[in-house]
């Protein structure tokens, strides 16, 4: 318990320094913990864009700090603690693996606010936030189903966690809807960012006959591999990856964290910050669909955009029954839509997907 008192002392000292901020003299200090390098062109790149948007919005009133490439384990807890000690008022930890470290540090720094991306553990000073990427996956699946000629779609998955499984399911059912013969091959890369591994996975899938590559990893390596192979289409992941448009990249799912980050920083400045759980999709703008390139026929593009609009206004839910699980058991009845609780913990494939979720 002594540790706690010493840290509490540090917190008290911090409270003194941040006390000045109430007078409007000191800046609000916002920290970011990134899992990859800010130049990854995908996940971390977009979080960093959000950080830059915060700086642009608040100018002199805010100071942002960040640490890139932080491993998800013992090191994360140390880095987050040091950031809290440095006087941060608000810290965004932007990967699932930071969940336990974030909550452990938050317990020691009750006056610092924490925001953990894609997790499920909250506390009085810990919020969680994530985006409904699966809405974007539905649009992606639709285009993939229409565009494939070999009827083989390759999917580079990262880790078998609900977020990734949800994406595979959403893409699959929407591809299947427009192309009953479509097959998905899923490769588990066990990494969020490893250009060499991602390129290998993409090449292997293309050699097996896939002419559409979907990825849930963050680098542009699969795009480069598809470009080399020719006649293979891909989608930008997390970031627009428009440098590979119009071919192989025909569209993308863009994470847009800027509005959320600005809103939360403002809440800290105004003293109205509360622990919340946010899960936004295409409608509020947290998930964007990148420009659909001319490589996609006009009618397919129009359908995809109509699907996007129906997702944005809420008139259509990507998981609408009738849907069965992979083992043939019923999941959703005709017209029934999935509840957020089931989606948040989704650990099963839907009917028609071959292969097993690793465990």
């Amino acid at each position: 318990m002594k540790r706690r008192t010493i840290l509490a002392g540090a917190v008290a000292a911090l409270a003194l320094t941040t006390g000045a901020f109430a007078d409007g003299h000191a800046k609000t200090k916002v920290g970011f913990i990134f899992v990859g390098p800010v130049g990854d062109g995908g996940w971390t790149y977009e979080h960093n864009q959000g950080r830059l948007a915060v700086e642009a919005e608040f100018g002199d009133k805010v100071e942002t700090i960040f640490q890139e490439s932080v491993p998800e384990g013992a090191d994360a807890e140390r880095v987050i603690t040091q950031m809290a000690l440095s006087g941060a008022d608000l810290i965004f930890t932007t990967s699932f693996g930071y969940m336990d470290p974030t909550n452990a540090v938050a317990a020691k720094f009750p006056n610092v606010k924490f925001e953990h991306a894609t997790g499920y553990k909250r506390a009085d000073n810990v919020s969680t936030y994530s985006a409904r990427f699966y809405e974007g996956r539905a649009v992606q699946g639709h285009i993939a189903g229409k565009m494939t000629k070999t009827n083989k779609v390759g999917y580079i998955a990262s880790f078998p966690i609900p977020e990734v499984i949800r994406g595979i399911n959403a893409a699959y059912i929407h591809a299947k809807k427009v192309n009953p013969d479509v097959e998905f091959s899923v490769v588990w890369a066990y990494t969020w960012f490893d250009p060499a591994k991602e390129a290998d996975a993409a090449t292997a899938l293309i050699e097996q006959g896939a002419d559409v590559i979907l990825q849930h990893t963050d680098s542009t390596a699969p795009q480069a591999a598809a470009q080399k192979a020719g006649n293979v289409i891909t989608f930008g992941q997390a970031s627009d990856m428009s440098e590979y448009a119009p071919m192989p990249r025909v569209s993308s799912i863009i994470d847009n964290w800027a509005p959320y980050y600005i809103e939360r920083v403002k809440a800290v400045m105004d003293g109205t910050w509360e622990s919340t759980d946010t899960w936004d999709g295409i409608g509020p703008g947290m998930v964007g669909i990148g420009e659909i390139s001319d490589a996609v026929p006009a009618d397919v593009k129009a359908e995809a955009l109509a699907l996007k609009d129906s997702l944005a206004d809420g008139s259509y839910h990507p998981f609408t029954g009738p849907l069965k699980k992979q083992d043939g058991s019923d999941w959703l009845a005709e017209g029934e839509t999935a509840d957020d609780g089931t989606l948040a913990g989704m650990n099963f494939y839907l009917e028609g997907i071959t292969g097993d979720i690793p465990n």
């Binding site: 960040f66 948040a344 465990n359």
Partner: protein
């Protein structure tokens, strides 16, 4: 004309002071790099080497963290040094570290939620045994079939990583974890948690084990017959064979000991600082320890200092990264420079520099 002249014996004096030279050279070259990146070089160097130890805002937290970060490095490097001295190249400590962590964690989790004093000691034994057995694979293959232990031990790292992923997603997954990968957190299981022995010191059982390992290795090298055999086998393999050293026994001893120590490091890490088995639990301690072993000149006390120095550059590097906005890649380059200069100044240990004209015939 500058001429390098080989010394008959490596210089004792230079062996001792070259590391200081290397650190100074790293500061200068690193300072230039930071300046080119548009950062104040003096502030950057101060942040890396001074702030983790003495900055009043951070030091109370980061000083103990040095021990936490250095302990697994020292523990693994001490074991590796034995083999490296004997010419037995265990490159796969990372794999033994993973298997040790998994074995120990599995034993602990099997008892959940029983509370008892014997659970943690059992985990320690299982951790050491796991690392030992994983190292026995390249050991026995080398002894029986003359395979190359460098390749076998290295490739077994990738096997171990897949076993780790499978365990985090399957057998050891937290049943109350909402389907997410990763085991229960040992912090919530007191009997199995490798807690701090004295509050706020960073001192956990892994640090104690590292210190004991250093002392044992020192005694082994300087007083024990086995230590003599190890050195003999490394320096003069033929003489060693005539001298009655059993090469098979030596290989198994070196690999087994380094494997067991790496396994222990993994167990202490997973049950303490890391807290849980997760897919990417390993962060390269097994590979960094190879650098630490050579930085420490394969000498146990040298390794102790090298481990602490390495830990300092990690923690100071993190501070520099977010306080000053130095890119992580620049920090890694800085660490690389340190190794580079240490190896480069080795020339002064083995060679004498002579200034003078070369005679023309």
């Amino acid at each position: 004309m500058i001429v390098l002249e080989k010394r008959p014996q490596p210089s004792k004096l230079w062996t001792a002071i070259t590391p200081v030279f290397a650190v100074v050279a790293t500061m200068i070259a690193g300072g230039i790099m930071f300046a080119l990146l548009g950062k104040d070089p003096f502030e950057a160097i101060r942040t890396i080497f001074w702030d983790p130890l003495f900055n009043e805002q951070f030091a109370a937290f980061s000083r103990p963290q040095l021990l936490v970060k250095a302990a697994p490095l020292i523990l693994i490097a001490t074991g590796l040094a034995m083999g490296f001295r004997a010419g037995v190249w265990n490159i796969g400590a990372e794999g033994q570290y993973i298997i040790g962590a998994l074995s120990g964690a599995a034993v602990g989790l099997a008892f959940y939620p029983t509370e008892s004093f014997f659970i943690f000691p059992l985990m320690v034994i299982a951790g050491a045994l796991g690392g030992f057995l994983w190292a026995m694979i390249p050991g026995l293959l080398k002894v029986k079939f003359h395979t190359n232990e460098i390749l076998v031990s290295l490739l077994l790292v990738y096997v171990a990583e897949f076993i780790l992923a499978s365990m985090a997603l399957g057998a050891l997954r937290n049943p109350e974890g909402n389907g997410f990968p990763g085991s229960r957190n040992f912090k919530d299981y007191p009997s199995a948690f490798n807690a701090e022995l004295l509050p706020n010191t960073g001192l956990h059982w892994g640090v104690v084990a590292a210190i004991i390992a250093v002392i044992f290795a020192y005694v082994l090298f300087s007083k024990h017959m086995m230590g003599f055999h190890i050195r003999l086998a490394g320096q003069a393999p033929k003489a060693a064979r005539f001298g009655g050293v059993d090469p098979a026994r030596l290989i198994l001893f070196c690999l087994g000991t380094s494997g067991a120590l790496a396994g222990l490091a993994g167990l202490f890490e997973v049950s303490g600082p890391a807290g849980q088995v997760s897919i990417d639990f390993n962060v390269g301690y097994g590979f960094t320890a190879i650098i630490v072993a050579f930085l420490g000149r394969l000498n146990p006390f040298g390794i102790l200092l090298a481990g602490l120095l390495m830990a300092l550059t990690y923690i100071g590097g993190e501070l520099a990264s977010f306080m000053l906005g130095v890119p992580t890649a620049a920090i890694q380059a800085f660490q690389g420079m340190l190794l580079f200069f240490l190896l480069a100044v080795d020339v002064l240990t083995n060679y004498r520099i002579r200034f003078g004209k070369r005679k023309v015939a």
